[in-house]
């Protein structure tokens, strides 16, 4: 099969159109009796996912970011996973914040976990923290953000411009302006940096 014909057939397939096969639709619709069962919420953009995670956690509901199932991936995606038992409450809460999920779906296959470890690098007067593919560096004595690097999504250079020169404790641009997975990873790195700086008395 030539590359051209493979590409053509790809466009007629369900992966790229976002449609699910009838079998997948049936699987999604089956109710689960498992009390530990989970559901995932999808949103129009990754920026909304980040907001939803903060809101649900503040309301005391379980909420964590994961990758959507392979059949729903289009590029820079993430979903919120919560318990199936609390899913409808979660949707109601989010609606009250004008944040309506596109759909709520019981988890029917393994979802990919995001990277959850952090790496610290000490550069003397500066400290760099890395989360996944993103790195952020502060001047230890002042808490001033001096650099942000890594990543490949278009909000990364924008976020860097918003963050550099600001005090790590006085800006929340990493939380509110991130729109992509790279932006979210930068937010996680910034949170870790705040935690480390605080515990070091910085």
């Amino acid at each position: 099969m030539t590359l051209l014909s493979r590409l053509r057939s790809a466009f007629s397939g369900s992966i790229f159109s976002g449609r699910l096969s009838p079998a997948q639709d049936r699987r999604r619709a089956e109710p689960s009796a498992n009390p530990n069962a989970e559901a995932f919420l999808t949103f129009a953009g990754t920026g909304e996912v980040v907001q939803a995670e903060s809101i649900l956690q503040a309301e005391g509901l379980p909420a964590r970011v994961m990758a959507p199932p392979a059949t729903l991936r289009t590029g820079c995606d993430m979903v919120i996973v919560t318990s199936l038992m609390h899913a409808f409450r979660a949707v109601s809460i989010l609606k009250a914040y004008q944040l309506t999920p596109l759909q709520m779906t019981p988890v029917g296959e393994d979802l990919l976990e995001p990277v959850s470890l952090f790496q610290h690098k000490d550069f003397g007067d500066w400290l760099m923290v890395r989360a996944a593919n993103m790195k952020i560096t502060v001047e230890k004595a002042s808490g001033r953000i001096v650099n942000a690097s890594g990543g490949g999504c278009p909000d990364v250079p924008y976020l860097a411009a918003q963050l550099i020169g600001k005090n790590i404790y006085e800006t929340d641009s990493d939380r509110k302006d991130g729109q992509t997975l790279c932006g979210y990873a930068l937010h996680l790195a910034a949170q870790e940096l705040r935690r480390v700086q605080k515990s070091a008395g910085g």
């Binding site: 790229f16 289009t74 760099m128 490949g152 860097a160």
Partner: protein, 298 residues
């Protein structure tokens, strides 16, 4: 649209919301990038890539070469509107533009748009050289068509992403933090076995590696400037240099090797701290070129 025969096209985004969709040549002066009536700072992202490619063609080519460099970019702060404008325009103009090479850069990864663009490229009478970095490299890998590209420019973490056949984005890469220099060879093999690599790869790290069809052909480890890891945009400058050299017709291995050396030399000569920016590095670009010429005795 009047364009030179077979220009080299840079496709990316500008990190400000109101930068209009632009398909035009560009220039660089001091710390600003200029295209028509528009300008932006070159301190990171696609503007840093464009500035470095411009400097490369200025100092290593003739003045006329820079007029063959075209940018296709729009403002995008991460919401994707600018990326979608760029994808759409690219599909529309490819047949007319017939670029001899394309460098894809910061674009919101979108497999659907990626495949539409690749379909148009495959229809061209002469296939351009394809370089993918940043978000577009993520989309190329996720699409399953990574092997259609001539050059990828991953760092070690992104190499782990290419080696993990299930990961749709570096954020979800398994064992991301186990990815270190010692594992590079293994990760390179995995990326090629899974057909998730371009035919040539420029793997950035403490040791830079030029890879062709799964084999490490050349490594560069000096000068070693660890603080460069903190500085946003040093990967963009590397991709800018290699793209500029390829636009000048340089052989792929020589282009990758030269780019590694010049980028590292900029780091050495600028004496950066973790608080420096690529503007500080680009200020010493001409000196780094001279040093590289002495090294190779050109």
């Amino acid at each position: 649209m009047t364009t030179p025969a077979a220009p080299w096209l840079f496709v990316g985004t500008i990190p400000v919301a109101d930068f209009p969709l632009t398909l035009a040549p560009f220039t660089m002066k001091e710390t600003q990038l200029f295209s028509g009536a528009h300008s932006c700072p070159v301190n990171r992202g696609t503007p840093a890539l464009l500035a470095t490619a411009f400097l490369t063609c200025t100092y290593l080519g003739s003045g006329a070469n820079t007029s063959e460099l075209y940018m296709l970019a729009a403002g995008d702060t991460g919401k994707g509107e600018g990326s979608r404008q760029v994808y759409q325009r690219l599909v529309e103009v490819l047949r007319e533009l017939r670029p001899r090479g394309i460098t894809f850069h910061y674009l919101l990864p979108d497999v659907d748009w990626h495949n539409r663009v690749l379909l148009e490229i495959e229809k061209l009478p002469e296939r351009p050289l394809l370089v993918a970095d940043a978000g577009y490299m993520y989309a190329a890998k996720m699409s399953g068509y990574a092997a259609s590209y001539d050059l990828f420019t991953p760092d070690i973490g992104e190499l782990a992403f290419l080696a993990d056949e299930t990961a749709p984005h570096p954020f979800y890469t398994r064992h991301f933090f186990l990815a270190d220099e010692e594992q590079a060879e293994d990760l390179i093999v995995k990326a090629y076995v899974g057909s998730n690599a371009a035919s040539h790869m420029l793997v950035k790290g403490k040791v830079d590696r030029y890879v062709h069809d799964g084999k490490i052909v050349e490594t560069v480890d000096a000068p070693d400037v660890p603080v460069l890891e903190c500085i946003g945009g040093t990967g963009d400058t590397l991709t800018g240099i290699v793209s500029g050299l390829l636009a000048l017709g340089t052989d792929m291995q020589i282009a990758c090797s030269t780019a590694f050396h010049i980028n590292r030399c900029m780091g050495l000569l600028a004496r950066p701290t973790p608080a420096s920016s690529v503007v500080d590095l680009l200020a010493v670009f001409p000196l780094a070129v001279q040093k590289e010429m002495l090294r190779t005795k050109v």
